[in-house]
Symmetry: C2
Subunit: 299 residues, 2 copies
Amino acid sequence: MLYLIGLGLGDAEDITVKGLEAVRRCRRVYLEAYTSVLPAGREALEKFYGKELILADREMVEQEADSILKDADVCDVAFLVVGDPFGATTHSDLVLRAVNLGIPYRVIHNASIMNAVGCCGLQLYNFGETVSIVFWTDTWKPESFFDKIKKNRQNGMHTLCLLDIKVKEQSVENLMKIQTICQLEALQFHRGRKIYEPPRYMSVNQAAEQLLAIIQNRRLQGEEPEITENTICVGLARVGAQDQKIASGTLYQMSTVELGGPLHSMIVTGTMHPLELEMLNLFSVDSSKFENNAFQRNT
Amino acid sequence: MLYLIGLGLGDAEDITVKGLEAVRRCRRVYLEAYTSVLPAGREALEKFYGKELILADREMVEQEADSILKDADVCDVAFLVVGDPFGATTHSDLVLRAVNLGIPYRVIHNASIMNAVGCCGLQLYNFGETVSIVFWTDTWKPESFFDKIKKNRQNGMHTLCLLDIKVKEQSVENLMKIQTICQLEALQFHRGRKIYEPPRYMSVNQAAEQLLAIIQNRRLQGEEPEITENTICVGLARVGAQDQKIASGTLYQMSTVELGGPLHSMIVTGTMHPLELEMLNLFSVDSSKFENNAFQRNT
């Protein structure tokens, strides 16, 4: 049996009792380590589960899936995913491969950022399409997520913005460095060895700055955007962990709010119900400003 | 401390390890029993937790919230919710009341139907606004959910339809019966005693029938609806439980598909990615028909 097990969002104890029993029963346990990250870290998980974890990066899952599934028809194998196995990223590929090999699979669900954001008080059924905000580079500054947020807001809906994660990234500079080295003398040593950048996690500040830049662009193009510096947003950090932080305020305030370490997410609000407003006010950066701006939108 | 603890979707073992520890530590443990239902049932939970559960129906939560929060500033009280505490239904009222009384609160998240539906292979970020399909009565047949589904589909998005639950419902007939009895002789015995209907849970069949009826209405009004008998839908029953069932097929097929006991949910698909199609095909009622209809939409 292949078990796809969600770990939830906070620490080792956020696994379900059913999930923990399955992990302890499995012969091999993989930890998906490229679409999210648990604040607890791998060692804490290994200690709590009493099991050694095999880190599964994108390369392994995409190129060596058969090694993950090896013998799963005769023994139990677990594939652990931060959040839910079918949350922000799905692992359909692995499931389809298992089914094609005749290996039965079972999903053990858990909280993911897709439902846990409800903790800020905005109601999940008032959310439109979820968007991903990607890190801009000098030469690549996509704005498509802005138009989706705009559309949601025009429909009165909130938008959950998932913020970019870069793990085991091979930068252009690094790829060139490897190439140069290979062409010179250290060929034998470096062949097949990849150099990776340190992981990067987009903060709410960075996401807000990119959105503010888009608003400026749009104004230069003569558009008065649906979303402005004063649109009420929510910044969330480490949702589900002991030290989670939630801050509500204007988009401009989000560009400077201090939320600490990763992972961050952001919500751009649509039209708010009075109960949603009251909940968000619990987390406001500046209560008087919050009420002013929120009131403007909702009347 | 007030703990709001998600129980997940299947059985007693779907609580997280952290949630279980909190439950065992609490002086009083309430089980929210009106917006959802755990297949496992109350006794199984009590046995597994080693704790007596106090059933909290809508009346208690809305009218006697202070009794739930009593002494929560000096002892630990747990409020258990099937799924996630901020999933399909939020408990913001209880949180705000606690905050106003100076009682600290903590949320322990879990899977909810809002994220666990991902198990059918449709990707959560391709979902638009979630809708609720309510039981029609002879005199009340709202169609507003249909227009939301239509809008999502026009935008290429899938729609999760949450299906109606009626628990501890006082029917018009029952209310009249009580009144009559009271006016006659049994006044003393029946005073203050309410008679409730047995709980009702909408099935995928019923939801599909209501949608098909709306499509007929719209055609009579000269509209050729965006959603037809042949639109690909997904019926889900008891998601997360050992005996969960998923069936994909046309809306018409959903009106007769056999999914067993509650709780049911339904998805009306939008535009599908090839990987989504391949996953849905695993659950198709009739594979050849599925491919025909799905292909029509996606080209």
